[in-house]
């Protein structure tokens, strides 16, 4: 199952790369995709939870990405104002945020979402503790009140 999803994704990537449906490249690509998928699942992901998503999770993940992109653009404008302001009105703070997840993929998704959202930057993760550097305290509002955690739990941890 794990290797199957990985191979399917890789074959899709191969199609994107080659952009044509000739027989010889297609056979070679699918063969390579299967081999690489077997190697990845047996060698890289043998110890812990691989990022396998169910179809419903994939759908929600795409929805989440769209929403994230909207948030990023909205917040990038705020940061741009700060950068262009000659007084440079920032007062950086470090915030420790606690979030407990069942899956590794949720932790990584939260860390990267925090970093992508302008004004906040994941500095370190240890266990359930996320150390977040904020340009201003008010940037961290969504993180501290757990909006992000709830969204990510809905995407990755419901079947």
């Amino acid at each position: 199952m794990k290797a199957g999803q990985c191979a399917a994704l890789l074959a899709l990537f191969w199609l994107v790369l080659t952009g044509r449906l000739d027989l010889l490249p297609l056979v070679a690509g699918v063969l390579a995709a299967v081999l690489i998928a077997v190697w990845a699942t047996s060698s890289l992901w043998q110890r812990d939870d691989p990022p396998v998503l169910s179809p419903a999770q994939w759908l929600r993940f795409i929805g989440y990405t769209v929403r994230l992109v909207r948030d990023i653009v909205a917040a990038a404008i705020v940061v741009a104002e700060k950068v262009l302001d000659p007084r440079m009105p920032i007062s950086p703070v470090l915030i420790v945020h606690r979030a407990k997840f069942d899956r590794e993929v949720s932790r990584i998704a939260l860390a990267n979402s925090i970093t992508l959202t302008p004004g906040t930057l994941t500095v370190d993760i240890e266990g359930d503790e996320f150390l977040v550097h904020c340009l201003n305290e008010d940037f961290a509002a969504d993180i501290v009140d757990g909006t992000f955690d709830r969204r990510i739990r809905r995407v990755f941890e419901e079947p």
């Binding site: 790369l17 690489i36 998928a37 190697w39 890289l44 992901w45 990584i108 993760i125």
Partner: protein
């Protein structure tokens, strides 16, 4: 005195070279022999004779196959020599887990492992489609070596070394020249001359070209990865 002598010697050596340069046809001039006889033949017959969609590939691997064969051998000999010079008597430093080093960030480890299969497939694509797009054996091999380097930095050398096991590594290092010789011999069997490609751009000629590219890719990746690993060894 010594310096002056060297300069005088170099000047004397330079005169015939410059004279030879002067008697050559002007750079890019249409009267050059390369443009009058060879290039038109390459361009007109290249596609059907060489078995490659791309003229440059046809020239490098077919018309001038001997040349490239020698070049590949020289390059890989040089790489092997570099790797051999880096070999030191000492063995690899044993790193005990949690021995005063900073643990790896889980985010970096996760994302690198997520990307690794895609990088591997992309390297394969660059090797295989070197015939029609920018790329080829060396370039794809370099991307694959980059993957191995980041895997050994992030996931540990044990994981990365499993891709290129130490037992077969010497053979993989010379995979470039070896595949060239193998394809050349196959050509000798099929057409009667070393590195002869069966005429008409068929599946077989394409497969032979891809075999050479694949060999160069594997050889390049192994050599670069070996050099990187050698650098990490303790003297």
């Amino acid at each position: 005195m010594k310096k002056a002598l060297i300069i005088a010697l170099l000047a004397v050596a330079a005169i015939p070279l410059l004279a030879a340069m002067a008697s050559m046809p002007r750079f890019g001039s249409p009267e050059q022999p390369a443009y009058t006889h060879v290039a038109s033949r390459y361009l007109q017959k290249g596609a059907e004779e060489a078995g490659a969609d791309n003229v440059v590939t046809g020239v490098i691997l077919n018309y001038r196959g001997f040349d490239t064969n020698g070049e590949v051998t020289v390059i890989f000999t040089a790489c092997a020599a570099t790797a051999a010079v880096l070999v030191t008597s000492g063995s690899r430093k044993k790193e005990k887990p949690g021995e005063a080093t900073v643990p790896l960030s889980p985010v970096v480890g996760y994302v690198v492992r997520l990307l690794a299969p895609f990088i591997a497939l992309f390297a394969f694509y660059v090797v295989l489609f070197g015939e029609v797009s920018p790329g080829g054996g060396f370039q794809g091999g370099t991307i694959f070596a980059a993957l191995i380097i980041i895997l050994s930095v992030v996931a540990g050398r044990n994981v990365a070394e499993r891709v290129l096991p130490a037992r077969v590594r010497p053979w993989l290092q010379i995979a470039g020249p070896l595949s060239f010789i193998a394809v050349g011999t196959l050509g000798a069997v099929l057409t009667g001359s070393y590195l002869g490609f069966p005429h008409a751009r068929g599946l077989l000629a394409t497969a032979m070209l891809m075999g050479i590219e694949l060999g160069i890719g594997i050889g390049g990746a192994t050599v670069f990865a070996s050099i990187f690993w050698r650098l990490g060894d303790e003297p």
